[in-house]
Amino acid sequence: MKIEGEFTFQGARERVWELLQDPEVLAQTLPGTEKLEKTGEDQYESAMRVQVGPVNGVFSCKVALKDKQPPERYTMLVDSKGAQGFANGAVQVELIAAESNATLMKYQAELQVGGRLAGVGQRLLDTVGRSMTRQALEGLNRALQARISGDSPAAPAYTAPTQEEFARAVAKDVFRESFRSRPVIWIAAAAVIVLFLAWIILSTIN
């Protein structure tokens, strides 16, 4: 599975870099994270709950950072596994200073995904992967804003999204992507909802 994209953080490159190295912030912002610890220099271990379609489980992840060139770039080596499968590979992250004190992040992940996660969840894997990435980055940006405004006294504290909020966001992304690519699915979904409502109405009448 390949995921690549860009994201603009509203903050200086050094601040973004700092944020990305802080396990506490990461644990709060990466969706599904149940635990994240620093186990050594540039070594992290975490437990993440991931749901892809019908496949749902906790994955234990080891992340090692390498080729660090602060504050420009680094590579994350990811090795995660759980009862439902595995995902491992490398994520390359590049931070580019942009105008008006913003930072452009370019990321490129190449992951091998296997087990039930890939065998049963395949159809949703890309969409869910992209959705998780988007949410993680948006969460990080919010945390960044909280931290920056924390420099001033009346700072709003950052709160991580709940599991439910996260799941809802994934569902929304999946739906949006399906709708964009295949209107047929949208029509089919609408038909199913109509039939379901009709069935409920009929069964209450009877």
């Binding site: 091998q112 296997g114 890939a118 065998g119 049963v120 159809r123």
Partner: protein, 789 residues
């Protein structure tokens, strides 16, 4: 000869039990103290196993034991080679059979690594995550052509390449055809993998009775007797200590004739180790890779013809994907090789194949068992030839049919039963005529198609022929007993997976013994009831077991008439056996019932004379010298939606010749079911593997089976050309429906989209694939027209 029951659409004896939920399936076996097994399965298609650590799983509450390959000790052995390669000259075959639990290497996705035994399946499944399997992933071999390239990763280190087998069979001299050939057509044709998707997954329950020293195994196998024999050997028991029961089975389709699956070998062993009953039921996810599959082949084929469409010769070189192991030998590719010749007179034939190991689930026969590929290649070649020579598609087939005077016809190559491929009988043109008449072939082409096209409808028609080698040996047996109740008991060794054996076999016996079909109680698939046999496969149940039933019933009939003659003081010619009694032709009031005869044949006093046997019972065996060849024609009208590329079947006609028909209703059911699987194979189903060997659509959410809305009611007709190779004159019918469907779809879709001049050289198709093929073709057509300007 007039018949009472044979040939009649007798309602099925087994349906009441099946439809009211009374039939026993393997998962219905519940035993006190029974334990449940879940398997830890490898997540890499190819990798070296560095470590398997089950200590955490062993200490989980509710887990009784965990077994890894190391724990099996000397019981860890690769499975037997089920079918050795046929005696073909210059044949290469490398035997690599599956192992009970992966030890050093993982060779396909989902290979079992450890068995967890727990108080419940839930607890066993929970413990899967506790088992640490460390794997060093290796590059996977997924593409069957790349498997043979130098430098391809080796799946079996002991071999110098991934070649599993290399076979050449020749008839005449293909190269001699060129001087006379007016046209030579070469094509590359592909067939990809699917799964049988039986409604019931596999399952095994085993119980070791330590006091009685008896092992009982309930197994969803198509071959209970060979499983009994093999388990006894592996476990160091006498065959009489092992009873294998194949109860009702929700569909076999071939993957359940694969024997000594890892789970099948392990569950009985675990039951003996733990001295408790043990159950494992495959779940649907496991079924997608732990059960065998079929159909990956790539053919480079060539046909040479005269200008008037007569075949001079065919050359076919293909690669066959055998998956990670090859326990079933060469049955599938040999079937492809032999079935390609079809109902046609092919004077010169060169066929060469290489079977290759890949990091994919094991390939063994699945309904059709390689015959699809052969039929697809031949029928496609004929279609392309018909277009090239401007001959009607039905006509080019007719011109090449073997004629009734050509039988027996020797194709001079070796078939899967090790005997020369000799067609016993056949009459092909009438089936073609009948199919054309039923579907209205001429009228559709001249009237309906132009009208539909004027309305903007992309409607097309297809018509294809095929043969199916069926009813191969070595033998089956049956025992018929008339009981004192006047009812009949029939036992045979073959297992049953929904074929209607409880009715068809009963009809054969009732015909001889003059009893009602429902009064024949049939027992199948229980080794305690019948000791000898091979199994249900290769469309052979009705032919081989059916004729054994017939022979045993004939013997009992003779005993009945002999005894009745003595009692009624009449010669056997004067006696009539019908309605459950024997009476005198000229004095019907002088009669004796079968029940009374059975009692008299098994007296409590007096003497059974030396040289005779008590009871009205006989056991007989039937083994044909070679298989018999069934045939048929399928015709189809379909419509392609030009926007969605979805296909809607308007009519589907099958004219089938499987010799004498025992029960046309059951036969039509077999054909309907076969066609349904064929339609799935042609347009909906495909197993998709990632380049690392990961199976990507291992659920019914993503693997699309056709449903009632995609499968039409088949219109059937039967031609009966009896087989001279068995007394009943029957031929097999189990696989026929599924065999020509891919070829038929390809032809009909091309016909529906004929303005695009599309050439379909692959199966399965899908709306997406069809859209892509059409896009490529449109692009090519534009390029051609530009270059012409």
């Amino acid at each position: 000869m007039g018949t009472t029951y044979i040939g009649q659409p007798v309602l099925r004896n087994e349906d009441e039990r099946l439809l009211t939920g009374q039939a026993l399936f393997t998962d219905d076996v519940h035993l006190p103290g029974m334990l449940h097994v879940a398997f830890v399965r490898g997540e890499h298609a190819h990798g070296r196993i560095l470590k398997v650590d089950a200590s955490a799983a062993r200490s989980r509450p509710g887990v009784i034991a965990v077994f890894t390959a190391e724990d099996l000790g000397s019981y860890w052995q690769p499975g037997p080679l089920l079918v050795p390669p046929p005696p073909i000259e210059r044949l290469t075959f490398h035997q690599r059979t599956q192992v009970p639990l992966a030890k050093d290497k993982l060779r396909h996705y989902g290979e079992a690594v450890a068995a967890i035994v727990a108080e419940s399946r839930y607890l066993a499944e929970d413990a899967i995550a506790d088992v640490i399997v460390e794997v060093d992933p290796l590059d996977a071999v997924v593409d069957m052509e790349k498997a043979l390239e130098p430098g391809a990763p080796l799946i079996h280190e002991g071999l110098s390449s991934n070649l599993a087998a290399h076979v050449i069979q020749e008839k005449g001299d293909y190269h001699s055809v060129f001087p006379g050939a007016d046209v030579v057509i070469k094509k590359r044709l592909l067939y990809d993998r699917g799964t049988a998707a039986a409604m019931e997954n596999r399952g095994v329950v085993a119980q070791w009775d330590a006091a009685g020293q008896q092992l009982t195994v309930w197994d969803t196998t198509q071959a209970p007797i060979p499983i009994r024999n093999g388990l006894a050997r592996m476990l160091g028991l006498s065959e009489s200590q092992v009873r294998v029961v194949a109860p009702f089975i929700g569909g076999g389709f071939g993957p359940k004739i694969m024997m000594f699956y890892p789970e099948e070998v392990l569950i009985p062993w675990i039951a003996m180790q733990l001295k408790r009953p043990v159950k494992w039921i495959e779940d649907r996810w496991e079924n997608f890779f732990a059960t065998t599959q079929e159909r990956g082949q790539i053919h480079e084929a060539e046909i040479a013809l005269t200008a008037d469409g007569h075949i001079l010769g065919v050359k076919d070189v293909f690669v066959h994907d055998t998956g990670a192991y090859d326990p079933y030998g060469l049955t599938v590719p040999i079937n492809s090789q032999c079935t390609l010749l079809g109902p046609y007179n092919v004077p010169n034939y060169y066929s060469e194949f290489k079977a290759v190991f890949t990091n994919k689930p094991i390939v063994t026969p699945y309904r059709g068992a390689g015959r699809q590929h052969g039929v697809f290649v031949m029928e496609r070649l004929l279609d392309f030839a018909a277009k090239e020579l401007n001959i009607d598609r039905a006509e080019i087939r007719r011109r090449n049919y073997l004629s009734p005077g050509d039988f027996p016809h020797n194709h001079q190559i070796i078939y899967q039963d090790f005997a020369p491929l000799v067609y016993d009988s056949g009459n092909y043109a009438p089936a073609l005529d009948k199919a054309m008449e039923m579907i209205g072939y001429e009228k559709f082409i001249t009237e309906e198609q132009p009208r539909l096209r004027a309305e903007g409808k992309q409607a097309g028609i297809g018509i294809v022929s095929y043969v199916e080698g069926t009813g191969i040996g070595p033998y089956e047996g049956a025992r018929v007993t008339v009981e004192a109740s006047g009812k009949v008991c029939l036992a045979t060794g073959v297992g049953t997976q929904g074929q209607g054996h409880f009715t068809a076999f009963a009809q054969v016996v009732a015909e001889q013994l003059g009893v009602e079909v429902k009064d024949v109680r049939v027992v199948t698939g229980d080794t305690r009831e019948f000791n000898w046999g091979t199994g249900t496969f290769a469309s052979r149940g009705a032919v081989v077991a059916g004729n054994a039933c017939h022979a045993a019933a004939r013997m009992v009939r003779n005993k009945i008439l002999k005894l009745a003659g003595e009692i009624l003081q009449a010669s056997e010619e004067e006696l009539i056996l019908e309605g459950g009694r024997v009476y005198l032709r000229n004095a019907p009031q002088k009669a004796i019932t079968l029940g009374d005869l059975a009692a008299r044949a098994n007296p409590l006093r007096g003497a059974v004379k030396p040289g005779s046997e008590p009871g009205l019972e006989a056991t007989a065996y039937f083994g044909p010298e070679r298989g018999c060849t069934a045939s048929g024609v399928h015709a189809l009208i379909l419509e392609v939606d030009p926007l969605t590329m979805m296909v809607e079947i308007q009519r589907y006609v099958v004219v089938h010749d499987c010799g004498r028909v025992i029960n046309p209703m059951i036969l039509e059911g077999q054909i309907q079911g076969g066609v349904a699987q064929g339609i799935g194979n042609a347009f909906y189903e495909q197993l998709v593997f990632a380049p690392n060997g990961q199976l990507l659509n291992a659920s019914f959410m993503d693997y699309l089976l056709p449903t009632a809305s995609e499968v039409p009611n088949i219109e059937n007709a039967h031609i009966e050309t009896p087989s001279p190779l068995n007394p009943l004159g029957v031929k097999g019918a189990g696989e026929a429906g599924a065999i020509p469907t891919g070829a038929l779809f390809a032809q009909a879709i091309e016909n529906a989209l004929r303005e695009y001049d599309l050439e379909i050289c692959e199966i399965p198709l899908s709306p997406n694939r069809l859209f892509d093929l059409l896009g490529e073709r449109v692009k090519q057509n534009i390029e051609i027209s530009i270059s012409h300007e």
